[in-house]
Chain length 437, copies 2
């Protein structure tokens, strides 16, 4: 056992309450003691410490699109064409480099875990790489090198739409059938205790109805994620083909459980909300992406009331900032409802942290408590954004930004956020500059 | 004439186009030469330089509310009660200190001008101060000390609602009648060429219909601002009392001209939009505040098409960040329309800069061009937010944040943004801490 580190936190968010002078002891990557002791013999850490955030929905390669898809008009579907152009260009080396840079940007922003929704499985032609999981392994390796936990959500993607074979770059995504997908995923190795292998159904568009149960069986006891009803067109196509909503179809296939995360969950019926809630399925919202893509505002509070716990993800990485993600849940609900006070800061910190970590398979992270993984995100309380804002949970959720993060601890490893930011900037410029030539 | 300063800008946004290696010469606070000359003997400035932004709608004292009005539920109207509690507490000294700190936060973020919508005129009892304009002078002095241009929009506020006398803290706001207001405003002295005195009609709630024309006459040839249809309730009350919308009432009083800015302009009829557009009235949107307060999303594009130019303001200062303000116009429109591409990055830079500056009375600011005031906002292109995003106008509007500002030039005076941020943080903590005790 390594020697314990002792810190005296100026302020810390502990299970719903912000306290002064919190002493924590960290040993072997976990909190071995937590208490309030202003006189403790410990290094003083100034600022507001909150638990580490979980980025529950990431497509890491979308980071290459930031700022480059903001010209001209269009919809989600025209944006997707631009996204596919980047997807076509990546190989294991460039994916590894882009993932390293982007995961570092995430860690600098306070994310200590990432759920990577990964479907760039094969070569651009659709042929398998000699090492079938070389792309997934590139992601696992990048996360390990950066020091962020990962749940690799290996994604089953078999069809361009209901009844349509994969087209163009989608051939990279497809294993041909769900059984072949499952056999490949079974070969994946999580490497260490800071990685998990989970599964994903890309969407009801991309996995034929009769093969859903194969994915569900392969995902048993693992996190299972699925894009759900982000677009009205998906609902219409599913209703036309199957006479039921995507949610009902997934429920029918046994895909909705407490280990499942329904990503977006934007355009739902009341019956959909009841099915998601009663099954304990997580609702993973990606507010900055949903705003960027014009998806609409999902029924976050109704889902919560029905039994679906909220988690958050930065998805397309138009923004990588857990603070913006948290407050956007409340602020976008205000925009469409014209009332305030749907989500409290404490609830949003819980969604961004504890609940998200658990949804990725890390129930032992997301709280500053004995036995938990030692994750901390320390915020500057004296920046132009945070100064004078009360230094409570509301400061973190409604005033702070990723630029206010001073240091991040992940599994007991300390990172200077300024150093991470500088390094991420250099790496991002290099790898993305190379991709766009 | 002082010696000219020569800069070679790595990249600069010049009249709609981003160019490399732009050389500018600055003398007596203005650009005396602008050209493209990679070989120029000039100090190299790295990053993307854009013109200075205009914060066209500010209530500087609301900065004390950030992070402190985010508990519990409510509406715009319950939020207003909390805002009034702070308004009640301020005196000339604390207003000056709060304004100094907040204007410094603005300058650090890239705002080189501010339109201060000022109605805290009198003592808490409603009595005049011995020096009647001591509060307005505190704002003018603070701006001069910080080095940000100001247009003091001295606001006529006479009633709690249609047919209702001022109540509680509103007594501070009222001069009793419009003529008395006009006489006081006539005494205000702009001090120097970096300040203007403008006027404001608080709203059709707060200025009785028969006194509107007095304000309009007093404001002749100056910027005139008015809160317009931010809330549905305002429209309903106006229709009930006068049988017409607030826009129609203002039009009837001659208040809509190219020197007028209609602030918010959220809940409008088609006739309202036509009246605002055909009169050349500016539409001043405050997207981060309108989202925070759940006001709704105004018809920015329809107003633009009708002839109302868009300007932007940070209003309640829940956020002080011109980049967030610009992109929010487009992003919030996406949320409610579920389509993309309403506003281009170039148009939004123009709204945030050139058009806003002109609306505040500074038609000689907002462009990097010979004869214009020498304002520059230089962005770091290598931060985790901006790296790899293409370094064009889209980087500024859709990727950057106030934290990416490296330096700000305002009227030829150079400011290190990091130093401004640090100083603003210290000042904000001190003055706001004192206000909340």
């Amino acid at each position: 056992m390594s020697r314990a580190t002792r810190l005296r936190l100026e302020r810390a968010f502990i299970d719903g309450v912000v306290r002064d002078d919190v002493t924590v002891e960290i040993a072997d990557g976990r909190f071995s003691a937590v208490g309030v002791d202003p006189a403790a013999d410990a290094e003083r850490v100034e600022g507001l410490a909150v638990p580490g955030f979980a980025n529950c929905h990431s497509h890491v390669f979308h980071r290459a699109l930031r700022g480059r898809t903001q010209t001209g008009g269009g919809t989600f579907w025209t944006w997707r064409e631009q996204m596919y152009a980047v997807a076509q260009r990546l190989d294991p080396d460039t994916l590894h480099a882009l993932a390293t840079a982007t995961f570092r940007e995430m860690l600098a922003a306070g994310y200590t875990s990432v759920g990577e929704f990964h479907y760039l499985h094969h070569a651009p032609s659709g042929a398998r790489y000699t090492e079938a999981n070389v792309m997934g392994t590139a992601l696992l390796t990048a996360a390990a090198e950066v020091g962020i936990r990962i749940t690799l959500l290996d994604t089953c993607y078999l069809a361009a739409g209901i009844g349509r074979d994969p087209e163009g770059v989608q051939r990279r995504f497809s294993d041909g059938d769900a059984q072949t997908w499952a056999e490949r995923v079974a070969e994946l190795d999580a490497l260490d205790g800071r990685a998990r292998i989970g599964a994903a159904i890309h969407s009801v568009r991309a996995v034929p109805r009769e093969q859903l149960s194969i994915v569900v069986a392969a995902a048993r006891n693992r996190p299972l994620h699925v894009h759900l009803s982000e677009q009205v067109a998906e609902n219409e196509q599913c209703l036309a083909a199957h006479g039921m909503t995507p949610t009902a179809l997934l429920h029918d296939a046994g895909a909705l459980t407490p280990l499942t995360s329904a990503v977006h969950a934007t355009h739902l019926t009341e019956t959909d909300i009841a099915l998601l809630g009663s099954s304990g399925t997580h609702a993973c919202f990606c507010p900055t992406t949903e705003r960027d893509l014009g998806d609409g505002v999902g029924p976050s509070r109704a889902l919560h009331a029905a039994g679906s716990s909220l988690t958050l993800g930065s998805d397309s990485h138009a923004v990588i900032d857990p603070f913006e993600e948290m407050r956007a849940v409340e602020l976008d609900e205000r925009l469409v409802s014209m009332t305030r006070g749907h989500w409290s800061a404490t609830e949003l910190l819980d969604a961004g942290g504890r609940i998200g970590q658990a949804s990725l398979g890390y129930a032992d992270a997301g709280r500053i408590a004995v036995g938990q993984r030692a994750d901390l995100v320390v915020l500057d309380l004296g920046s132009p954004r945070t100064a004078g804002t009360g230094a409570g949970a509301e400061t973190a959720v409604f005033a702070a930004s990723a630029a206010d993060v001073r240091e991040v601890w992940a599994d007991g490893v300390r990172h200077d956020a300024g150093v991470l930011r500088e390094q991420a900037g250099l790496e991002l410029a290099r790898v993305i500059g190379g991709l766009w030539g």
